[in-house]
Structure formats: C-alpha cells, structure tokens
Amino acid sequence: MLETKVNSSLCTFIGSIKLERPTILASGILGISLDVFNRIYHAGAGAVVTKSLSKEPWEGYANPTIFSVKGDGWLNAVGLSNPGAPNFAKMIESNKDVPIIVSLVGSIEDDFEFMIKQFENTKVLAYELNLSCPHVAKVGLEVGDDPELVKKIVKTVKSSTDVPVIAKVGLGTTNYLDTVDAACKAGIDAITAINTLRAMAIDVETKRPILSNKIGGLSGTPIKPIAVRCVYEISSQHKIPIIGCGGISSWDDAIEFILAGASAIQIGSAVGDNWIQVFDEINKGILQYMEKNGFSKIEEMVGLAKKF
C-alpha cells in the first residue's frame, strides 16, 4: 500500500464530506467504469467523479474530440457522451470501497430529480452538478449562466437527497460569482471551480476547426492561473467549501489551490500527461510540503493566501 494512503495528515473535509486524501479524479476523465474507479482509488485518489451523466445515454460528438494544444493544454468537445444515469447506477451498484461522486448534467430541475432517484440504492459520496460544460447546448454552462435556474435546480436536488451536493461552476457569459451566490443561497454544500474554458483550434493546413464540434473546452496547465483566481474570489466572498480544479499537474499546483481557499482538488488533464501515478505523486508532494512547513492538517492551509 502506498504510504500516502494511510497518512491521516492528508485527510480533508469538504463540509461534511470526509476524504482520506485531497486529490480527486475530475469528471469526464476515465470516468465510465467501476473497475477503473477502483484502480484510480487504489492509485491514490481520495475520490473519483463520474463522467457527467444525463437522463438518457448520449453518444457525444464525432471525433476529433480531444487533442492537445501548445502550452501543455488540452482541447476537448466530447459532447458529454455517457451511458445515461440509469445504466450507470446499475453499473456502480456493487461498489463498496470507492468514494464516488456522481456528476449530473441536465436542463431543468426534473432531470436532476429523476437521475438522483436512480442512485437511491447506490453508495454515493456526493453529487456534483455540472453547471459548466461549455460546449453542449441547453445544459452545463447554459444552465450555470442562469442563476435563477441554478437556484431552482439546487433547491430541488437538495430536497431530493440527503447526500451532499456540489455545484461545479465555470466561466460563461454571466458573472460566475452570481451563480455561486445562487447555489449558496439555495443550500449547496460545496463548489467545484472551474470547468474547461470555451476555446477553439484551427488547423492551418486544412483551414478547418479541428474539433468536430468546432468549439470545445480548454483544460490543463493554461487555465491554472484563471482557476486559482476563481477559487480565491469565491473563498473571499463565501464561507462555502471549495474544490479547486483546473490545470493541476504537480504538488505545488495543488498547494496553490489550497492556499487560495480549496479544501480539496480535482485532477483531469494531468492524467493524460502523467498517467494515474499523478495522484500518488501529488499526495506525496503535499505531505512533504506539510512536513517542511509544519502543517499537520490540510485545513490549516486552506485559504492562507487570503491573509495578505
């Protein structure tokens, strides 16, 4: 067993959600199979987030759906392909060990209510509402950009389940802080920030947009400074627990988010660059940093940069 897996210093709380380790697999990354979740959990992740699930199965967009861009970034428009919440719930029914956060995507309250029902008999650590996917019509960011709708959805979801509910926000065409505010007022338990940023790449030889959907989401190293800013802004304005996400690929990236105000962090694109040992590497780096700097708990570091 990895040394970091049994080290209680790495334990963290996202509100009432307790994690053994602060590193979480982000939604959409390797997130469609229970066997893979098990593997990633045993590789060091404190929890895994599923691919965002919809009511019905979705095929997603044609390829190319993912490729990398200059500056260690990734561009994707997978189109939220997923087996649908009912199929998925069945698949993870047998889960015993893995702390699974179920990501959900929908257009109206009822969608979310329906999906949560599917998981009634399943061990779910938390739900994450995807209010931020930037490249699929009528869901994700188009919902997140409407704080009133967000309020309705969060209220409905909160009254449908006792499991903690996280809202995942991103940067859209309104002020994302209004979305955070709406979610908080409606009783959300935590915020994940941020999702990918709307972006595009054109191939100069063929003169075409490369993604089949033309526009997609930018992730990885390029978005880190923007994500850190968002975590800092949210934590400066709200008392809500935050999960930081965006461009984290090494322990110091993770610490940067924690100092900005995150209680845990999610790792996405870095899995494509560094493979799944990235969880253990980051956990080890965080531990070493804590020892060197005299911290015994993650929460002692959360938001320290706000002092200045």
Partner: protein, 270 residues
C-alpha cells in the same frame, strides 16, 4: 510549426494501393510514424468526417508509413476514399508494442489485424522460425500474403491462408488451423491481432498449451492517451496499458472476448 505528438500533424497521401475490393493501403511521408514500434497505432483525422485509431502499417520506403483500411462504417469509408494529394491528420504514435521473443513464432491475424503483425515481422531475427496464419472470408479478401512471404524471405517460415468459404488456402477459421498446428508443435511465442472473438480463442488455445501469447485489442477510442476512458476493458485502458496485453492478463478480465463499449460507453456483447 513544432510537432506536438498529441495534436494532429497534416500529411498528404502519396500512394493508394488496393489490397482487396474492400481494403486499401494509403502511404504518406512521416519520419515519426515510419519508426513506430510494432503494434503501435495513430489517431487518424479525416478532416470534416471523424478521427479513427489505425495501426501504423510498414512502408518499404524510408521515412514513409501507411495505413491499411477496411471500408466499413462512415469514417473508415471516408478514410478509404482519401485520394493521392489529399490531407489527413495524424497524432501519436500511441500504445505499447509486442514483446518479441526468439525461436519458433506463431502469428495469427485476421483482416486488418494483419497490420501490426506485418510490422512485427520487420523486427524478428533471421534465426527465427515463423509461422503466419492469415484469415479472410474469401479468396478476394486475402491480402499481405506475398508481402509476408517477402518479409520472411530470409527466415524458415510458412504463411498459411485460411478462408472461411474455402475458396483459397485452407478452408475454415484461422483458429482451426492453429488448433491443428499446435497438436504437434510448441511455439515459443504466439502473437495475434484481429476480431476479438478470434483473439480470445487464440489466447485460450495458446494458454492451454502453455505458450506465451500476446494479443492486440481494439476498442472505441477518443483520446488515445488515457483521458476519456472510452477504451476501457475492465480496469485496463487499451490505449495506454495496451493495445497489446499478455494472454494470461486478458483471461483474468471478464470483458475480454465478451463485451465492448459503444459510443455512449454502454457495455455490449460481442
């Protein structure tokens, strides 16, 4: 423009060769892909249509590589139809490669599954004794027979063709041929690529006879780099942990030879 192996690089098709009425080989210049390890694949962008995983085929010319495509659905048919001078995008190479052993080697391939086996043949020792069993539905769909014989010119070798309808070579499935062969012969290693049900059988036969065996798997692929998860077989990601796996490992996986995932990620039976 600096090359980024995870971003499509544009190549122009320089030569198109019809292998059979449904299979074509497209050749292009690319130093990186001309030097891949046997078994590695690329993600191939057909601009405006789709992007597909394709095993990298050997080209006899230095600095060139090729793809050998069976026209099937929309995407593969579009790639099949790319003309000389037209662009495709490639990224990669991705995946691991065959562990090449020495001695008596058995290769069992079906259809375009022959592609990685052809490159494997370029990596063996002159002292190896090689048997290649290649399968096709019917005579007109047989390809790479001459090319395999040519690559094996300096080896003790035999190339056995099996057609399902018996119109050429031996009649029946490659696995029948293999079964027969293995009654009397113990191979030092078996390599297989082709339809998964075929590979599953090859792996079982070889394992029963306690022969080292490796198979190259195909799955729905989007990223090719271990991000999207679409290519998983139980807890393995075919693009990253494979595409080549040891037989023993595969037999421990409930999905191998039984199910694969569709575009929505739902498990479907073979």
């Amino acid at each position: 423009m600096q090359r980024n192996s995870n971003h499509p690089t544009i190549c122009k098709i320089e030569k198109v060769v019809d292998e059979t009425p449904t299979v074509r080989t497209l050749t292009f210049s690319d130093d990186v892909l001309s030097n891949v390890l046997p078994g590695q694949f690329a993600m191939v962008w057909i601009p405006g249509v789709n992007e597909l995983p394709m095993s990298v085929m050997v080209s006899e010319e230095k600095g060139k590589a090729a793809f050998t495509i069976r026209k099937y659905g929309e995407a593969s048919t579009a790639l099949y139809n790319v003309k000389v001078g037209e662009p495709i995008g490639i990224r990669g190479p991705y995946g691991n490669s065959f562990r090449i052993k020495e001695g008596k080697l058995l290769l069992v391939g079906g259809g375009t599954g022959l592609v990685p086996l052809m490159r494997l043949l370029t990596g063996i020792k002159p002292s190896d004794d090689v048997t290649l069993i290649m399968g096709a539905k019917t005579q007109s769909e047989v390809f790479f027979e001459d090319y395999a014989n040519k690559l094996l010119d300096h080896n003790t070798h035999q190339v056995i063709v099996a057609t399902e309808d018996g119109s050429y070579g031996q009649s029946g499935l490659v696995t029948d041929v293999m079964d027969n062969l293995c009654q009397n012969t113990k191979f030092d290693a078996v390599y297989t690529c082709g339809p998964e049900l075929m590979m599953s059988k090859v792996v079982k036969i070889a394992t029963l006879k306690e022969m080292f065996v490796q198979a190259s798997l195909e799955r729905m692929m989007k990223c090719g780099v271990g991000i999207c998860g679409s290519c998983c077989v139980n807890d393995d990601l075919v693009c990253k942990d494979g595409t080549i796996f040891d037989g023993k490992h595969l037999l421990s996986k409930s999905e191998f030879g039984h199910t694969h995932r569709n575009k929505a990620g739902i498990l479907e039976a073979y």
